[in-house]
Symmetry: C2
Subunit: 250 residues, 2 copies
Amino acid sequence: MDDVVTAALAIIGDEILSGRTEDANLAYLARWLNEEGIRLTEVRVVADDEVAIGKAINALRNSHDYLFTTGGIGPTHDDITVDSIAVALGLGVECHPQSLAMLEDYYGKDALTDDQKRMARVPAGADLIPNPMSGAPGIRIDNIFVLAGIPGIMRGMLEGLRGQLIGGTPMQSDTIVVYAPESDIAGFVRQVQDQNPDVSVGSYPFFRKGRVGAALVVRGTESGRLAEVLAALTYQADKLGLESEAESTG
Amino acid sequence: MDDVVTAALAIIGDEILSGRTEDANLAYLARWLNEEGIRLTEVRVVADDEVAIGKAINALRNSHDYLFTTGGIGPTHDDITVDSIAVALGLGVECHPQSLAMLEDYYGKDALTDDQKRMARVPAGADLIPNPMSGAPGIRIDNIFVLAGIPGIMRGMLEGLRGQLIGGTPMQSDTIVVYAPESDIAGFVRQVQDQNPDVSVGSYPFFRKGRVGAALVVRGTESGRLAEVLAALTYQADKLGLESEAESTG
């Protein structure tokens, strides 16, 4: 039995829901988590609204080992992630002394404005996540990791978490591309999946350079088994006279 | 009081949660819905798992006027959206005669395989959404719109829905860019927001061409009010001697 550790992500921001900004953090976080042996199993995108954020936070933190949030931690009035999480957890909000010291150092102690000071606020008892790339820290409270929405800063905060989480067995994946309509290969793909329940087989159709095909992605925790299932898929494609080729995936 | 009509989106697919594929439908759907006078207020990304899909479907269809899903409607074993929605709604699955006729027409009646026939399956009582662009129809059952995951096909299905949904007052938006750190402008932005509660003001920081700034996005249903709030923000930026410029947004 594999040791499965799961995570959820709450993407916080009206700008994502309005279509103004395309999220650029989900796929990066998913791949980062996988490297740490953690599987992203649910994502929610919620508005800049305390009730909506609180509902998502409480649902996701209880049903997953870890919860990540992105967005809403800047200095402006619409940055309400810290306050919303504190309310959801029944905690107060306090100024983190180390975070305040960093801001005083950056802006100058006497020049620091109230709006700048807002960036040092954390749910009571929270720890900072050091950011080796840009300095701007993230926030950890219980099993919740509060990250920035700006991709470059978010990635720095993840670097500060590298090796800090307890992961399980990492998922590995391998891919074969078959040049045929999905409905032509659905039969043997289903058969191979049924015969190999320990490996997950996904079929993702595409139109690429004017050609129809499907990427067959095998996922599992044992690379030897992935190779066997990939060989079975290749064999079946060959038998139907279909062109196929290996594709490297992350 | 505005007439607010809301929608949710369930993105179905292991390939999104694994980071293999970046979603390319959320922002497009959000903008399309806005043109129809509908606001996207929540998104969930769930795995190819009947229980996970059913839970998301039932939560979202009851809390929003409309629910859209993307992904999982192809012919392969991992395409379980139709079955999962049927289970969630307590419905059977049936073959849609019009959809079957289209498939027979395309593949030839005698050549049609069982896997190809799978694509004609719908929750009992569902209607088809015509796709003027590629022919491949979507599925409508109650307030749920089941769309393809492949962006080009998904967009065609949306074209088939244009003008078919009952929308409310469309949101409009306008943007001013101010070249200053967010914490320098947070004070006046908050003040303008407080003085204009009928308009929503969002602040989105950026680093662009080596310059720090923030896009201030005003959203509301009356364009005259947006212009007034934008003028107030511009006035305040000018007063602080900060460079600003208009930016057109969708």
